[in-house]
């Protein structure tokens, strides 16, 4: 007559009930008996027979004690109360439920950087060691987007980078102890939102077939103007340079040698003054844009226009835009200047109130 077989029992928490499964090939099972002994003292701590055709037996909660090693055997009975031989003896331990969590991240946190250094916290009352774990990142729909792979239990931090600004993520760690107790932090949600240094630099990859390589070029241009006073910004998208003598100069990392098109727009230009100067710092040849008013017979301004002045071989070359109605203090005036070879085009438009 064959005996039941118990397979390996992963340590479980004695304060919770545990369903022990076994296999048996033979007669139809009507009852099964379980005997659990303290493995150190061989004293029987639990001996129970139940009537059941199922190949399992429930060990009630709090019958066993955490931190203790036990041995277990099972025998089954047929309808005539004939008992099978006892099963193989399996030794197992009861251990408190270990806790795996993120020590630096709580559900609903906001992460203010584009990366997270996830720190794992592991505790277990009886000294059961953490064997390994994985950290998994999910998007807002809980679709897996990153898996760290298996990390040894001796390393308790893992870096996940490339988080996108203003995005919802879930992070989860799963692992096991040295005796294969499964661990799971569950899904921990966080929002990634950071103040970022933004750049719209160009990255240009090129395929180099001859060398099976890719050349990666950057085209970052950093130009910063210099002001000879305190800048006053209006609505964070305009700068007030109406104060007499105040100006912004761009003269570094900036050079123009070919044909060009220039756009400049603003408001409240001071009459009969220059508002834009382009210059070659070596020979001082200047292109100047000035804001002008057209006066009627009583010398009252009734139209506005802009004037271009440029050094020429014949003296000062001038070009005028068309005249427009005197703009209001809120009207945005747009100027368009194009140079092709030695020819200039110069246009003006009133874009209306800002």
């Amino acid at each position: 007559m064959s005996a039941p077989i118990i397979t390996t029992i992963i340590p479980f928490d004695a304060i919770l009930e545990y369903i022990l499964s076994f296999s048996y090939t033979g007669f139809q099972v009507r009852k099964n008996r379980i005997i659990i002994k303290n493995n150190a003292t061989n004293v029987t701590v639990f001996d129970e027979t139940i009537t059941s055709t199922l190949l399992k037996h429930t060990i009630p909660a709090n019958i066993l004690t955490n931190g203790t090693t036990y041995s277990v055997q099972i025998q089954v009975y047929d309808i005539d109360n004939n008992a099978s031989p006892f099963s193989n003896t399996i030794v197992f331990s009861c251990l408190s439920t270990p806790l795996l969590s993120f020590s630096n991240l709580n559900n609903g946190d906001t992460v203010k950087e584009s990366y997270i250094n996830a720190q794992i916290s592991y505790t277990q009352s009886e000294g059961e060691l953490l064997n390994n774990y994985q950290v998994i990142l999910y998007n807002y729909a809980k679709q897996e987007i990153y898996n760290s792979g298996t990390i040894s239990g001796t390393i308790l931090t893992t870096l996940i980078s490339g988080l996108e600004d203003n995005s919802q993520y879930y992070i989860r760690a799963i692992g096991e102890t040295v005796n294969h107790i499964p661990l799971d932090t569950g899904y921990v949600s966080f929002l990634c939102k950071y103040l970022k240094p933004s750049t719209f630099s160009f990255i240009e990859p090129k395929n180099n077939e001859k060398e099976a390589s890719m050349s990666i070029s950057s085209h970052i241009i950093s130009i910063e103007g210099v002001i000879n006073g305190t800048p006053i910004y209006i609505d964070n998208n305009m700068i007030d340079l109406t104060e007499n003598g105040l100006k912004v100069v761009f003269d570094e990392a900036f050079s123009l040698s070919e044909d060009f098109t220039l756009h400049i727009q603003g408001k409240n230009f001071t009459s009969y003054t220059d508002f834009l100067i382009l210059k070659n710092s070596q020979n001082n040849n200047i292109i100047t844009l000035s804001w002008m008013n057209y006066l009627d017979s009583t010398r009252t301004p009734y139209k506005s226009y802009a004037k271009l002045s440029a050094n020429g071989k014949l003296g000062l070359y001038t070009l005028f835009t068309e005249r427009i109605n005197i703009p209001s203090s809120t009207d945005i005036i747009h100027f368009w200047l194009r140079r092709v070879d030695n020819n200039y085009e110069f246009k003006i438009a009133n874009k209306g109130g800002a």
């Binding site: 240094p197 099976a212 085209h219 100006k247 003269d251 900036f254 727009q265 710092s281």
Partner: protein, 302 residues
């Protein structure tokens, strides 16, 4: 003379271009409330009052005065960015691999060209330049491209060897050691496979020869071909890890193992070189590439 005047008679009367066309390296704005200032080398687009919002290769300067005086395509300066990182990932995946980290000490450091030698063939990748500000990474500026090359390449950080001739079938073996235990009292055996060992090994056979390409014509250096092959073998056996990549997308991080054979095939100039390799790491891992001396930047967790 005409009416006593010679109005086209002076030296400069007939100049076609009276205005100096000098380089401009200085610009000054003042005497108004300035909203936007934009300068481009594009002189073909039609007149418009709409100032372009996209920085392109013709853009020279664009100052928007949005609380700062930046006029380049970066709203940071070298005082606020310590490094730029170049990263790469397969399109459609999440994981980036950092390939380069460029320190920024002067404005010129922002413009660079780096060579990525460790991308697979026939694969669409994304590359990103990422500014780093006091440990915080900024926006990922991304561009993508599909790689393409022909033949087989063996590369490290300093050298490239290539062949597209007489390439033998590349059928590397995937190794995962295991033991089969046959018990007495069971029908089926136990298979024991301990550890995570799981790697490729194989053999490369091809003709490696120095060639020069001039348009459609390719010339081979047969005279000193043995020297070229000797130099190739010296490099293979220098004890340093290599990347082997094949144009169909397969790629391995390897060490050359065993002997290197040569055989001629029909003609003494038609020499095939054969060598073995064993995979030693993940060719897509920043840490493995760094630990094997193929890149200079180490990023924890990649």
């Amino acid at each position: 003379m005409f009416f006593g005047m010679s109005f086209i008679g002076s030296t400069n009367s007939n100049f076609a271009s009276p205005i100096y066309r000098d380089d401009v390296d200085y610009m000054e704005v003042k005497n108004g409330i300035i909203d936007d200032l934009y300068l481009t080398a594009n002189v073909t687009d039609a007149y418009t009052t709409e100032i372009p919002t996209i920085w392109d290769y013709d853009t020279i300067l664009h100052a928007k005065f949005e609380g700062d005086l930046f006029a380049g395509n970066a709203d940071f300066s070298m005082n606020t960015v310590s490094h730029l990182r170049v990263k790469r990932r397969k399109k459609g995946t999440y994981k980036w691999v950092t390939l380069f980290e460029i320190p920024i000490n002067k404005k010129e450091d922002f413009n660079f060209t780096k060579t990525d030698r460790y991308a697979r063939g026939k694969t669409e990748y994304e590359w990103a330049i990422v500014p780093v500000l006091n440990g915080t990474e900024g926006n990922y500026n991304i561009a993508s491209l599909t790689t393409s090359f022909e033949g087989i390449f063996i590369v490290d950080a300093n050298k490239i060897y290539h062949s597209k001739y007489n390439i033998g079938h590349i059928n590397p073996k995937r190794q995962k050691p295991s033991t089969v235990v046959v018990p007495i009292d069971r029908r089926y055996p136990f298979v024991i496979s301990n550890g995570e060992v799981n790697y490729y090994s194989g053999e490369i056979k091809a003709t490696f020869i120095e060639e020069s390409v001039d348009g459609e014509d390719t010339a081979f250096n047969f005279e000193r071909a043995w020297e070229y092959r000797d130099g190739f073998k010296d490099w293979l056996l220098n004890g340093s890890p290599k990347i082997i990549k094949y144009d169909d997308g397969r790629m391995w991080l390897v060490m050359v193992t065993g002997d290197i054979d040569e055989e001629t095939d029909g003609h003494w100039d038609n020499v095939k070189t054969t060598f073995g390799f064993t995979e030693i790491g993940d060719c897509e891992s920043n840490q493995d590439l760094y630990n094997n001396g193929l890149i200079d930047v180490y990023m924890d967790g990649e």
